[in-house]
């Protein structure tokens, strides 16, 4: 490698690190992203000096195609659909790593090169990259609600996965050891089999996981692709691939752990159990219990006349109903009446941690009004009303009730029950994703249930506040 290219790679790596550093604060985050993108441009230009001149045309065409598709899709995607878009970008990155390793293996075979490092890292890259690609495609299909709805399971799923994984390792070893294990299968054939089997494994690993756990899966696959890129860096002996890929692999793993602990679900449980909606009973016999069913006018009157401090807890139902705009209108009305309005954002509100913040700031709700779990919980103590829109599990007090054993036990929740009144805007009494009933629904002195679609409910409420 030329010294100039090497130095440019170092500069690119430094820009990646500085970019991520700036991404840790809202004020500097956007410039951080720009900085990292600039690092990418540096890395690409530096690479142009070490490749064959005559291949520039092909590279240019392929890059242009990818750029156009990437820019158009990124510009046009709805912010509510953004998680699955990230899954797609992640998947193609993994796919690229697998393809690169595959074609490098072909080279090594032709040249008769027997570098130990390459023979080990090639099958590894193909394995990780393919799993990431196929897993991301499944995640996309699930989130886009095109296929694999809910949790797809079949008998002996774990056993099948384990056998498949062992088979892949065997095939990978066969490819690396020049067909010493399975003499009938030549190395390139073995590697092709590794690629295909890894794609199948990627699908099988993700189909049993329910939609609400999908953000964690995408984050994990993001880390996978980072690792695949790093492994391909060993194959190609390229430093920027090793550095960039490893940083993403490591940071993605930490991010995944942060997310899964916010959900109160150990990663192991998500991946190996395929739990999804375990619906641990308890909701059936509750149906005839009395609730305080109110109209938008009643709630509006209460808010206008008696509430001074209002905390709003938005959930995924808000995003599904595309009710962010209606939410902002209501906030403006309340504030024009002199009320203090804050938002309590649970770490897993929306489809990814931070997703709800993106959706709300998109419609112009300033992010200083958006409080994290730890910061908002003390605020409920002197709040007159907590309005919960399209959420349930994240405000369920039974999560920290030691008497109740449920899938959300121990999950940190927003303590809305400390507010004077709790208002749910919700379509029905159905429990949330975790299938756990919420005792707050039946506290008729404290709780008002406004049964409505999130958007309609917020619009009605806005009118009601205005007119009272």
């Amino acid at each position: 490698m030329q010294a100039a290219t090497f130095l440019a790679y170092l500069a690119a790596a430094a820009l990646f690190v500085l970019g991520i550093r700036r991404l840790r604060r809202p004020e500097t985050a956007r410039s951080g992203n720009t900085l990292a993108a600039f690092g990418m441009v540096v890395a690409i230009i530096a690479t142009l000096f070490v490749i064959e001149f005559q291949s520039l045309l092909l590279i240019g065409v392929a890059t242009l195609l990818g750029t156009v598709v990437g820019a158009v899709s990124a510009q046009r995607v709805q912010m509510t659909a953004m998680p699955q878009m990230v899954a797609v970008y992640n998947g193609v990155g993994g796919g690229a790593a697998a393809l690169i390793a595959y074609s490098e293996f072909y080279h090594l075979q032709i040249r008769g090169d027997e570098s130990l490092v390459a023979t080990i890292t090639v099958p590894l890259t193909v394995l990780i990259g393919s799993v990431s690609f196929a897993g991301s495609v499944v995640a996309f299909l699930k989130l886009q609600e095109l296929a694999f709805a809910g949790s797809v399971t079949f008998p002996l799923q774990q056993v099948v996965n384990a056998i498949l994984f062992v088979g892949i390792l065997l095939l990978a070893a066969n490819a690396a050891l020049d067909a010493a294990i399975l003499s009938f299968l030549p190395p390139v054939g073995s590697l092709t089999a590794v690629l295909v089997a890894s794609l199948v494994l990627g699908v099988l690993l993700v189909i049993p996981i329910g939609g609400a756990d999908m953000p964690i899966v995408i984050s994990l696959l993001n880390a996978f692709t980072g690792l695949a890129a790093a492994a391909s860096g060993f194959v190609l002996e390229n430093y920027i691939l090793i550095i960039g890929g490893t940083i993403v692999g490591a940071s993605g793993t930490i991010l995944t752990r942060l997310m899964s602990s916010a959900l109160g679900r150990p990663l192991r449980k998500i991946i190996f159990a395929g739990i999804a909606a375990s619906g641990s009973g308890g909701s059936e016999q509750q149906e005839d219990r009395e609730v305080n069913d109110v109209s938008a006018e009643e709630v509006g009157e209460y808010l206008a006349d008696e509430a001074e401090k209002v905390v709003i807890v938005p959930g995924y139902g808000l995003a599904v109903a595309q009710a962010q705009q209606a939410m902002r209108d209501l906030v403006e009305t309340l504030e024009s009446e002199g009320k203090e309005v804050l938002f309590g954002i649970h770490p897993v509100a929306g489809r990814m941690p931070g997703h709800m913040n993106v959706l709300l700031t998109e419609v112009g709700i300033p992010y200083e009004k958006l409080y994290d779990l730890e910061d908002i919980n003390p605020e409920f103590d002197d709040a007159n009303a907590a309005i919960i829109v399209g959420a349930n599990d994240v405000v369920n007090p039974s999560a920290h009730d030691p008497e109740v054993e449920s899938p959300i036990s121990g999950m940190p929740v927003l303590t809305v029950e400390n507010a004077e009144h709790v208002i749910f805007i919700k379509r029905s009494l159905s429990p949330g994703f975790a299938g756990v009933d919420n005792p707050l629904f039946y506290d008729t002195d404290k709780t008002m249930m406004l049964f409505s679609d999130a958007k309609q409910g917020l619009q009605d409420l806005n009118e009601a506040v205005k007119s009272s």
Partner: protein, 102 residues
């Protein structure tokens, strides 16, 4: 072998760096951060360029072409969508720093 050991050292240091970089990030930024790191592993595009450049034979050229296409899609889509997301975090008119006061 010397080369490999140097690469291994860089791998280990980069892993610790990535770990340290992400600890203690507000939830607000988790999604943009995931999306930005997602774009950074699009550096695989560099690998695609090298492979496409050195590859011989039509099938391998096609594989390399697809790899470059995928890599470019990862890079451009990733940074672009992150930029859109972060564009929504407009700078506040007045900076309320409740957390630091409390």
């Amino acid at each position: 072998m010397q080369e490999f050991l140097a690469q291994l050292a860089i791998f280990v240091i980069a892993a610790f760096l990535g770990y340290e970089l992400i600890s203690r990030v507000p939830n607000l930024l988790h999604t943009p951060l995931m999306s930005a790191t997602n774009a950074i592993h699009g550096v695989i595009l560099v690998g695609g360029m090298i492979t496409l450049s050195t590859g011989t034979g039509v099938p391998i050229k096609i594989v390399g072409f697809v790899a470059v296409f995928f890599g470019a899609l990862n890079v451009v889509g990733g940074f672009w969508v992150t930029n859109r997301m972060l564009g929504m975090f407009r700078p506040p008119v007045r900076r309320v720093k409740r957390r630091e006061e409390g």
